[in-house]
Symmetry: C2
Amino acid sequence: MPASLNRAVQYAHQNQNHFLNDLKKLVMIPSVSTDPEHKSDMLQAAEYLANELRSLGVSQVQLFPTQGHPIVFGNLSSARDNVPTVLIYGHYDVQPPDPLDLWQSLPFTPEQRGDHLYARGASDMKGQIIASLKAIESIVKTGEMPVNVKFLFEGEEEIGSPNLDSFIEDHKALLACQVVLNPDSGMIAPDVPTIIYALRGLAYFELRVYGPAHDLHSGVFGGVVYNPAQALSLLVAGMHDHQGRVTLPGFYDRVRPLAPEERDEFARLPLDEDYFLKQTGATELWGEAGFTPAERVGARPTLDVNGLYSGFTGKGSKTVIPAWAMGKISMRLVPDQDPQEVQQQLLRYLEEHPLPGIRWELTAMAGGPACITDRTSGYTQALARALETVWGKPPLFKREGGSIPVVASMQQLLGVDSVLTGFGLPDDNIHAPNERLHLPTWFMGIDSLVHFFFNLQENKDE
Amino acid sequence: MPASLNRAVQYAHQNQNHFLNDLKKLVMIPSVSTDPEHKSDMLQAAEYLANELRSLGVSQVQLFPTQGHPIVFGNLSSARDNVPTVLIYGHYDVQPPDPLDLWQSLPFTPEQRGDHLYARGASDMKGQIIASLKAIESIVKTGEMPVNVKFLFEGEEEIGSPNLDSFIEDHKALLACQVVLNPDSGMIAPDVPTIIYALRGLAYFELRVYGPAHDLHSGVFGGVVYNPAQALSLLVAGMHDHQGRVTLPGFYDRVRPLAPEERDEFARLPLDEDYFLKQTGATELWGEAGFTPAERVGARPTLDVNGLYSGFTGKGSKTVIPAWAMGKISMRLVPDQDPQEVQQQLLRYLEEHPLPGIRWELTAMAGGPACITDRTSGYTQALARALETVWGKPPLFKREGGSIPVVASMQQLLGVDSVLTGFGLPDDNIHAPNERLHLPTWFMGIDSLVHFFFNLQENKDE
């Protein structure tokens, strides 16, 4: 191991407490991007990251205002010539913490219990941003960066990154790089280092169903109007058939079939039925017939109801026929489905299922296509070797069920691939109560990112 | 017209402002029985009525505590012998006012706009209680009561009267009477005096559907578990068939078929399709095939979703697979359906539709059987003549879609029929935002109750 790498790894080991404290400071800022009441918290989180960058000696730290929350940019040039530039992407916003009553500790008061740090954002993805920054800190405090690094931290990932694409488009020269490091994915298990080479896309909608002009008494009017909550239920129920397939017209037309080699690869992943039963706590699994659970999550499109609301939902009883009902409905997409096409398919489905006295409104909330990246590139191999050095075994390559639309944007707008990793785990409860981060895995992640940056210098600036 | 009756009617005419002010005072008390935070308001409303009774010279005014909200009782004996005793039933609790943002004025700040008084409870049924009390005030301030009157005002009607039956059972002697006056129904239109002779029953449930052990990320786990919101939608959607019939097994087994004479009577009511379109603001009607809208509301059982809740319902998007979903589901029943039997039918329906990884819990919230009363009795005829005197035309007899379980209780526990009337109108928005009371109809209602009490004296105490 070269001396400079050795010093950096030692620094990382000696500063674990300090790294953890800095993460705690960041997760204490309730940067919930979807909620207008947290606008000032969003700014505070952006400022926190800008200060972190300044303390690394990043020369060009800038906060770019957007129509929503600001984008944090930084540029840290290596003293060496002819080395590649890696752009580190992250998002500093988090999901809303509700339902609050299911948290064992307060979502924005980080609490360490056993090997875990519990807080909203600890895993998704403030922990991953801090891991990247602390790997760089370990290098710059003990020597110099072997590659150029740029930083792009947005505050709107959890609401669909509405202002990111236009920012990238407007700042192509500023963001120019050879590869993106995106640590917004995760590992399969603490002892299974993982590189994600494909992601599902997302198409998220709010469907509002309207019936009578106002709420009605269910005694006085029960029997004469179609109930909007019943209409929504019928529409939602009809979106799957008995084989667990999505019924939107044309939904599967552009889905790439799984090659036999890919199915073999899926079969090698330690993601059997028992694994998913344990992770979900469900008593039985369910999904599209003809595919394994890992295939369904990684390589097949799905449709889920994310929320339902209608009428009286408080304690007790209220005999009302609600005037309207609302469903949040989203699809996970795979190559080569297109979010706009899926919206048209949903509209066609709704139009093909008219109900008496019922009208509806559909709003697209967020979306992005699926993507697959090249896993034989030198950048991906640099990460693979780094993970192997720290974990003592080669990483698994995996297609991921979640969506990271920015990966597609970077490909389309900057022409660069993303190397996807991250040190969260499947049972981190991201987007759910009691989100947590497994600290031993996180510290090994910081080590492996130190190795990654040193490995990267073998890739020339092309 | 006898002089005493004449004086009472004159008093009623001269005191309309004072009557209205007393109603305003009562509706300003937010007596929402279902909400524990309004417990002290419930007591305040009960005390208000007790004071009203005292001011009428009612000798025996008592507040009976229950496990929930208190029952107000009073006894006003006539100086005459051998006259019947009428028990006036009312409820001083109201429905919750939500959704608050749809009210044009505050729900508990009564506002007069045009001919209407807007406030929660103005029509259902504080207005009807005050109408009864003010009719009696008009008589006792100008003469003496021609009949004995007892008062029973409960505070739990809107939550299913959980403590009323046991109270009636324990106080049969105190409540002994020849007939109940229950003004908790209404009129078809301002110019159509109405007597209700049948009511639908109610069976109200909360259905909770559970799936994974906790909320899941829809990307990481979309495709492996049955989504509880989808499960609830499927279960709700399946509760009606394409003919608009309820599919619970055995649901129609005990429904009395409509006799040809009854269908003729329904056809005479001014309740055609246009009427229901106007009242509901729906663009199209819907319901059980083979029956007119008026028949469906008055004489056929129905099932409605009163509320839906699952997952994320705030602004924006949250990509969650919810751990559970909740539906409030209620049935309106007709003779001779039984609420307990209907609960068994719903349980059987749920058991016959198992879904993978999904379990459910069903809670019965409120309920009571339907009932039909004798419309040829002397008491009903006393009311019919009173309405005819004031409105100048005979009342229509109607089967009502709403539920008043206390009518069945009075029949079963005290062995007495109820005379059902009330001066609310179908567009009073009861149980909905902007509840209101049509004041010209209400004042005529007070007059007609004055006549009713005088007419009643022809019925002997049997």
